[in-house]
Symmetry: C2
Subunit: 364 residues, 2 copies
């Protein structure tokens, strides 16, 4: 079997793919309404939230844009925590819509520090909101969101979180941790094809929304709210992907969230164990290594592109290269969504073979 | 067989649904690149254009927003031709992003007049662009785009066209008619589930783009252009819907564009013929009646909602009610995409039955 092990899109279970293939229905009719209500209710359980939740037709980045433009005004001061490619993207979106972005930068591969955030927020009282990426797909690092959220809550700013590659697979209880705006995407921990972004917003976020003057139309959550009352979306939704999400959420509910999170931890532990025993080095600080994606430093002398090509063409294993400034320097293994230990074994055996073929010899 | 005959989403052929169910692939790999190139090349043939063309993950309305925000700046004067719900939407998008919108209004159901457009453009030289809906799904009317485009070309403004419910099914040769920005959506004439918007832009549109200061990130065509060079999209695309589009375009290429357009004309003629023989009245001016959707005035005493419910539950035929201010006053039959005369027959027999049941007696 082919192994698609990039950090999204992830493989989809056969039942999900079959669900995706169902015929079209009227998106303004009773069948879609029932589908929408089922999906929304289940998603709230996995978000661990009582907040309003919306499913948008678009990529995860569309969800990130939604999170920004619905809660801020041009000129607003926003603190963007950056320690990777997606943190930079979040900052870039806020800037594109006229926010005054203050960056709190950490080196790629190092975790964002709550104490540094506290100092930054105390220093500049004008900062209205904090945007942060929970799981940095580019570096394979999970930021300590619980601690960061505590700081934001204590200082009474708005907390906007990109959980595109974490939610569903990693622990992130929205209400308990006090996140105001939480965004994810269908093609990651949810085992569903790309095409939907999901966003939940707290009452505090709605207060910001009423003041927020960034221009918006397609991503306007006021419109989404009005239509959700009828079990609809403002614009024609990606019905096929809704079908898939419905099917996947049923599977996930059967497995249970705690079991899903534990499974991701086990697979990640296995992968990291093999990385070590091969004498390879993780890119991120191991203490914060992600349980959904492992980012590995390419050993000296190993050309990443060629290694990935060999794995893809000869072993049927698709991995991802380095992202942004890490291109050529790292490679990444996605282990999220539909994945278990056996998949981890197969992938790491492939990696071992590919490295040997590239002349890699374990040091020491 | 169930008949989903709303003006989109339209039914999808079995081959398209099977294509949609294919497993995920790397959206940054060679397989997706080949898929993207195939789809883009075929779409250009159906757009009848040599212009750049992009496939975006989102609804048709996302495509409309893309068409606006990439070519205009806040404060720009834009003429919006409005004679229906979607014309109003286009104007609303431009306003949301700060354009100064001048409306050229025609009554719902009446066609936009090229002479009136000419006068409006001559009167106000500050108008930089014209936005218009080719096929008004809400009223079942096709605007005389060829004539409107001639006027815009002669006056050297930018012409932005919503062809969401027309392209693929109605004649609209982009380059020959001189359209600058042309938008459509996967769930209409293309027989594909919703989730993708397609947009083509002329060299003149790119010139506008370089000056355009409306904020944009997710919908930014500069980013789409940069990634298309690698056969990629900036954000993770709705791969499943790409599969479906690829399959549908192959079917469409086999049938041939002229044949597809003729088929839509035949089905529409059949439906309109039955409407007349039942003594019903079209909502729009018959001369401009659309070949993709027929909008019918509800006869006095017939309650639309109840009639549609009966059709859906007892006859397996799903039609659409009136949109916007036409709610309760009209009902609509979609006949676009995967449709032939037999479908038209079945639907009109159902309508006849439903009307009789509602106590409708042909006048005269």
């Amino acid at each position: 079997m082919k192994q698609l092990r990039i950090p999204g899109p992830t493989p989809c279970p056969e039942a999900v793919l079959q669900a995706v293939a169902q015929p079209m229905i009227n998106h303004r009719g009773p069948q879609f309404q029932a589908l929408m209500e089922r999906v929304t209710t289940r998603l709230k359980e996995f978000f661990n939230t009582k907040n309003d939740l919306y499913v948008l037709t678009g990529s995860g980045t569309g969800g990130m844009e939604t999170a920004v433009v619905n809660h801020l005004s041009p000129g607003d001061k926003v603190l963007a925590i950056t320690n990777g490619y997606f943190g930079e993207r979040f900052a870039g979106i806020a800037e594109a819509f006229g926010a005054q972005v203050v960056r709190l930068e950490f080196p790629w591969g190092e975790a964002a520090q709550p104490q540094a955030l506290k100092a930054a927020l105390e220093k500049d009282r004008e900062i209205k909101a904090v945007v942060v990426v929970h799981n940095e797909t580019s570096t394979g690092l999970t930021n300590p969101l619980r601690g960061l959220a505590q700081v934001v809550r204590a200082s009474d700013r708005l907390l906007i979180v990109d959980a595109v590659s974490s939610l569903g697979a990693l622990e992130l209880p929205m209400d308990e941790w006090g996140v105001d705006v939480l965004v994810t995407g269908s093609q990651k921990g949810w085992m569903v094809p790309p095409g939907l972004a999901m966003i939940a917003v707290s009452p505090r976020a709605w207060q910001y929304h009423t003041q927020a003057r960034m221009p918006r139309y397609y991503w306007d959550l006021s419109k989404a709210r009005r239509f959700l009352e009828k079990g609809q979306t403002p614009w024609t939704p990606a019905i096929s992907i809704f079908y898939g999400l419905d099917s996947a959420l049923e599977m996930m509910a059967r497995e249970g969230q705690a079991n899903i999170i534990a499974r991701h931890r086990r697979v990640a532990d296995l992968v990291r164990g093999r990385v070590k025993s091969l004498g390879l080095k993780l890119f991120p600080d191991e203490k914060f290594a992600s349980n959904t994606v492992t980012c590995i430093r390419a050993p000296e002398g190993v050309e990443v592109k060629g290694m990935l090509k060999y794995l893809r063409e000869e072993e049927g294993i698709t991995l991802a290269g380095g992202q942004g400034m890490l291109e050529g320097k790292t490679f990444r293994i996605g282990h999220l969504g539909w994945v278990d230990e056996k998949d981890g074994e197969v992938v790491m055996k492939g990696v071992e073979k590919a490295l040997a073929r590239a002349g890699y010899v374990r040091a020491g």
